[in-house]
Assembly symmetry: C2
Homo-oligomer: 398 residues x 2
């Protein structure tokens, strides 16, 4: 197929390839110093680290170092983003695989790391500077079953200490799919996503945590002003329901709104603004299909009392991670939402006005692997991690 | 809901509103001098004409004047784009409505203009400068039935003359939906889209023209190198099939490829590269749903031997018209594809690289009505027509 890039973009692509050829000898990766240009923004990718096992989330500490979690290895790493030096922390999560998932004592360290299971997210307490709490979500194995859980701990030297479980989702299943597991703080409240665990109907049932977004205090206690608190046969942690597998969650820095995205089945990935007590419709309504063909449920896309998404990705992009850019390195991107795409191998950029998406851009489309981790650094650069084990940094190019 | 436009965009919006207030007294429209900014491009809209009845297509003559067709009134207009002066041409298409659609002699002037029916497109012969041929597609009424037809004619003064029918689609129906009707020349060949006429299965049948894109000579004769020429029980005009209702057709100015888009049912609008003899799948595969809920056919989205779209709009935007911008007025938009959105009230801009969409932008989203007509002027400005009867021009703003 003929290329339809504009002349200037072809030029930049050529320049990028030339730079690539010039630098590949000194690099372990194809991506070192690759240069891209789109919508008037020129940027280059740098390899910060390689050899990671599905890096899924990272946060920056006040001292500029970063903590990073690897989904598949269950490692928690301390990262010097300048040198790329990585230190795997002690006191982390010991992965169990295969038959070992039958953890006889259901200890706090029983992380499952097969299929969708693993370590999902890491977040700092909003008062981290004073209390040092670090929150980590993961797939917890108990005998043949597993669920989504959240621990908190502190960093001391190269060790995680003071570790305690603050939440265990009532979302057990013997298969290892759809854990959700994204975390974000809104003021003193910790929000946690839990996937439907591959049992669709649970997402509409109040008696479990599957297919829900939950609201907790920082120690796992349940706020009594949660929307369904005190209702019979209802998990009081529920904030919203009818979700399939949300792998992105954030507070919008300008509006304070809670945003999430979730994987549809075949097609129908959704971007949602998460409202108190709202029903996001899965599996009653969906813009997607069963993988085997055929409709989801009744094959309807809208229903009274169920929220419509802000944006739909069809075919699916498999979104992972999200943030709104607030840095200075890329002025043109300030206010844009960035989301990783695993299935469609790009960094997704959205411009949102009045609650609607007016621009969707696919950065480095097809050239960047399965993007699972996205983060903004204190340097204003954008960090992305992919399932090839790379942590890349985007910075402006001259 | 809180607005999430960036500060500079809010400023521009305010400025636009101020200008609007300043100019509304001298204008019949809200859109006069409204200023927008997106992705680094500042532009303003000017009202060229109002009072049109669903303007659906326009072409520019070598002398800078334009011909414009109004779907609902079936008028063909001569337009002075500088002054906005419009002259309805004589010898045009006399609309029939209601019971009058039973045209007893099936004359060439029997245009139907209800529901989806009307005048659809206008195109100039590639050798127009020498032969003066103008092509117009429309819904042709014959008794209680109607179909898609193409006439050609010449302009003499304020009159269309030498008019002759060059093609009548074997795509009759008693209802008045899904005519397609877009025209484009590729060298000496005229391509014509025909919708499925609201009878889905026809799109997979070779014995009729419904749900097809057709390839003709400029006088309606059939090229013998068409993909199905000579095949039994097959309309030899067929170039591609399995279309639902294509209301956009163009040749890409850089690649020479034929591109089209088509309306899905509920969701699943498609952008396609049209390949010789290819099957675009409707109604066997679709990324959309029945309006009543439930799947299309077997509810599958892919099948061997059927093409996948380049881009899918879900929920549907109802695309109409298309071109790739090649002008000088908007350097940042050069190479972008522009498409009108009727259902989602915006001008859709796509950036395509290596046959894939990397940017979708929704210009003037929610502020511009049902955009049915899109065209690039010889001045490099962009012309759009909406179902509020406005013809607007986009030009750079300071």
């Amino acid at each position: 197929m003929n290329s339809m890039v504009r002349g200037s973009e072809i030029g930049n692509l050529r320049r990028g390839i030339l730079l690539l050829v010039a630098t590949v000898a000194g690099s372990s990766s194809l991506f070192a110093q690759d240069i891209f240009e789109s919508q008037g923004v020129r940027y280059q990718t740098e390899v910060v680290a390689t050899g990671l096992q599905q890096p899924s989330a990272m946060v920056f500490l006040p001292d500029g170092r970063a903590l990073l979690v690897e989904r598949r290895s269950a490692k928690v790493d301390l990262l010097d983003v300048k040198s790329g030096a990585i230190t795997a922390l002690e006191g982390g999560f010991a992965p169990l695989t295969g038959k070992e998932t039958g953890a006889p004592d259901a200890t706090r360290q029983s992380v499952v790391t097969m299929e969708d299971a693993g370590v999902h997210d890491i977040a700092l307490h909003p008062n981290y500077a004073n209390n040092g709490w670090i929150y980590i979500s993961y797939s917890l194995g108990e005998h043949e079953r597993s669920t989504t859980a959240v621990d908190r701990c502190r960093l001391r030297g190269n060790r995680l200490v003071d570790r305690e479980r603050i939440f265990t989702a009532q979302a057990y299943s013997e298969d290892r799919f759809h854990y959700g597991g994204r975390l974000t703080f809104v003021g003193e409240y910790l929000f946690v996503t839990v996937g439907d665990r591959h049992h669709q109907n649970r997402a509409q049932q109040f008696s479990n945590h599957a297919g829900k977004i939950l609201r907790l205090y920082d120690d796992g206690r349940v706020p009594s002003d949660n929307p369904f608190f005190g209702r019979a046969d209802t998990r009081p942690e529920i904030w919203s329901y009818g979700h399939r597998n949300p792998q992105g969650l954030m507070v919008h820095p300008q509006t304070g709104e809670l945003w999430s995205h979730e994987h549809g089945p075949l097609g129908g990935d959704e971007l949602n603004i998460i409202r108190r007590g709202a029903n996001y419709g899965w599996p009653v309504i969906s813009w997607g299909w069963e993988y085997s063909g055929g409709p989801i449920g009744m094959g309807i896309t809208a229903h009274e009392g169920m929220e419509q998404p802000v944006w739909v990705w069809t075919p699916a992009i498999a979104p992972s991670g999200m943030f709104v850019y607030t840095g200075n390195a890329f002025p043109a991107w300030r206010g844009s939402m960035f989301i990783g795409s695993m299935a469609q191998h790009h960094l997704n950029r959205l411009v949102i006005q009045d609650g609607r998406v007016v621009v969707e851009e696919r950065l480095m489309y097809g050239k960047v692997g399965r993007v699972r981790l996205v983060a903004q650094g204190p340097d204003g650069f954008i960090y992305i991690g992919n399932d090839d084990g790379q942590l890349l940094r985007l910075r402006p190019a001259n």
